[in-house]
């Protein structure tokens, strides 16, 4: 008999990623409705000290799987350990973030257990005792509600930055259960990890994104977007046109063949608003567009628009934001 709702704890540089708190907050509600306990799964090396505080975000229990070989994420190492835990404890549902790691691990675990996996979800609700998940398709041009009626565990990954994080219950600790971890034969050998040194947030997790398109005219002009981004603590994104022109790397692309983002504020500079770009950022809470073409498609979705030269507007926005933030 399956029991418990599980959340995978994702770390980056030894810290718990925000998406983990988002998942715990959403899963807590579901667990309460079902009268089930909420468990977090924390594989890694030297991670046990992070476990108790997960209680503040709703975890009743944390399964800590410590092993030397889990220091860095590998597909095989994490799949072997996590799938074995699932087999042993048989949770009802298991949630992860739709991140590079979560997306990878969830698929391998789901197939090993021959169960269903719903990816990139933005909502979960309980209806007549069944968990119903909402997920975008065609990069957000449409949505579908899906369920996994029979196979267990029900697995789902959630888009970061969408589920609200509940207020932490300071001082509440989770019960820590140390489990044995056997990473087994790891066939992916890590040769190198190259981090881009950046003080800016990741695109998919940023509250504010400043994005530039064809209107940027060249790679050298992104410095004005970076200056604006650094004032408001934003990530810098780009349209497909700018990526395909070779101005900025693919990792910055927002859209159907890039990243799907949902920040609080999305500032589109010199972006015409092709349908495939709108698909990637249409769920932003507030969209600002700066474009010199008053007919640009982006103005149809923008909450606020400025028709004019971005090279004039962006530096003024930077100065105004700086003044505003200094005064508050």
């Amino acid at each position: 008999m399956a029991k418990g709702i599980w959340v995978f704890v994702e770390l980056r540089d030894g810290k718990i990623k925000k998406v983990t708190y988002e998942l715990l907050s959403a899963a807590r509600k579901v667990a309460d409705q079902l009268g089930e306990e909420l468990c977090a799964v924390l594989p890694g090396k030297g991670v046990a000290e992070l476990a108790p505080a997960l209680g503040e975000y709703g975890a009743d229990k944390v399964y800590v799987a410590e092993n030397e070989a889990l220091e860095n994420y590998t597909t095989d190492g994490y799949t072997n350990v996590v799938a074995a835990l699932v087999k042993e404890y048989q949770p009802i549902a298991f949630l992860m973030g739709y991140t590079a790691r979560g997306r990878d691990l969830a698929v391998q675990v789901a197939q090993r257990l021959e169960t269903g996996l719903m990816t990139d979800c933005i909502n979960v609700e309980l209806e007549n005792g069944q968990l119903i998940f909402t997920r975008p398709i065609y990069a957000g041009k449409a949505f579908t509600k899906v369920a996994c009626p029979e196979a267990r565990p029900i697995m789902a990954t959630f888009r970061p930055n969408v589920l609200p994080v509940g207020a932490p219950q300071t001082g509440k600790t989770a019960e820590v259960i140390n489990v044995s971890a056997s990473p087994g034969d790891i066939r992916q050998i890590i040769k190198d990890i190259v981090r881009q040194v950046s003080t800016r947030p990741e695109l998919t997790e940023a509250d504010v994104i400043v994005s530039g398109g064809r209107g940027m005219k060249g790679p050298e002009n992104y410095v004005i977007l970076e200056a604006l981004a650094d004032v408001v603590g934003a990530a810098v994104g780009a349209s497909r046109a700018a990526v395909d022109a070779g101005w900025v790397p693919q990792s910055m692309q927002v859209g159907q063949t890039g990243k799907t983002v949902s920040p609080v504020l999305y500032i589109a500079c010199g972006i015409s608003g092709a349908i495939q770009h709108l698909a990637g950022m249409g769920s932003s809470k507030c969209i600002v567009a700066v474009n010199k073409d008053p007919e640009a498609n982006i103005f149809k979705v923008a909450d606020y628009g400025i028709v004019g030269d971005l090279f004039q507007a962006v530096p003024i926005l930077t100065e105004e934001f700086k003044k505003l933030l200094a005064s508050s």
Binding site: E114, A142, C148, Q188, Q253, Y304, I306, E320
Partner: protein, 256 residues
């Protein structure tokens, strides 16, 4: 080197999406393309073949119109195509992966490629599931690769950087945008593609039945996003408009 590429036919990324009278995604009049990520996979397979010699086979599961996408890959330079016809009403990633893995298990391969995800359901699952079923290692979101005799060294995207991973072959790799610039099929390629082998198999040919591959996930309903309310253009010269915008973001939109 024998290379397989798993492919999917998808809606054009420029396609407008709507619902039909039964509330499902309307497929009428939508132009279909080879999933862009699978195009990167095909291109990379061809480059590896050009360097090391060998054979590229493309494989897909679906209805007869998927042949168009397979023919495109043949026109690009793939040697042969395999189409598993699975005209099932309801499928999920488990269904497709189980079918393709069964077909692949009867084939010879040193390396398998797939796109890292499809632009329609965006679920990024089938390639990983196939690798799991076949018992071969998988490396996803590859944006650069060096393939040697018995191993591949792949650079893959992770949040905030890249990771370089070595795997022994046979392995499954999935292609991320940036891996390469896919070639356009030449006129000669298009003509040759018509004569290249297109093997068609049914589930029964693979010794499978519909019940065996029944989906785990069921779609309950589809809906369109609520349209965004019309925004406002802040009038005036750029300096005044920019100042007014920042004020509006704080006072009206209550952000920042």
């Amino acid at each position: 080197m024998k290379i397989l590429v798993c492919m999917k036919q998808t809606f054009d990324t420029e396609a407008k999406i709507g619902l039909d009278s039964s509330g499902k995604i309307n497929r009428q009049g939508v132009s279909l393309i080879l999933n862009p990520y699978d195009e990167f996979a095909v291109e990379e397979a061809l480059r590896i073949k050009e360097k090391h010699g060998g054979e590229v086979t493309v494989i897909s599961a679906g209805n007869p119109e998927v042949q168009d996408a397979l023919r495109q890959a043949l026109a690009m330079g793939a040697d042969k195509a395999v189409l598993i016809s699975s005209e099932m009403e309801e499928i999920d990633e488990y269904t497709t992966a189980t079918i393709l893995a069964k077909a692949i298990s009867g084939m010879e391969y040193d390396l398998i490629w797939g796109g890292f995800r499809a632009v329609d359901d965006g679920s990024a699952q089938v390639a990983g599931r196939i690798a799991e079923i076949l018992g071969i290692p998988v490396v996803k979101m590859v944006n650069q690769v060096e393939v040697g005799e018995n191993k591949a060294v792949a650079t893959c995207e992770i949040e905030g950087g890249n990771e370089v991973i070595e795997v022994s072959l046979p392995a499954m790799l999935t292609a991320q945008k940036g891996l390469n610039e896919p070639r356009y099929p030449s006129m000669k390629g298009i003509m040759q593609a018509k004569k290249k082998p297109m093997e068609k198999k049914s589930l029964a040919d693979l010794g499978m039945d519909v019940a065996q591959v029944a989906p785990k996930v069921k779609a309950l309903s589809f809906f369109m996003p609520s349209p965004r309310a019309a925004g406002k253009i802040i009038e005036g010269e750029v300096p005044e408009a920019a100042t007014a915008l920042v004020k509006a973001l704080r006072e009206e939109a209550k952000i920042l």
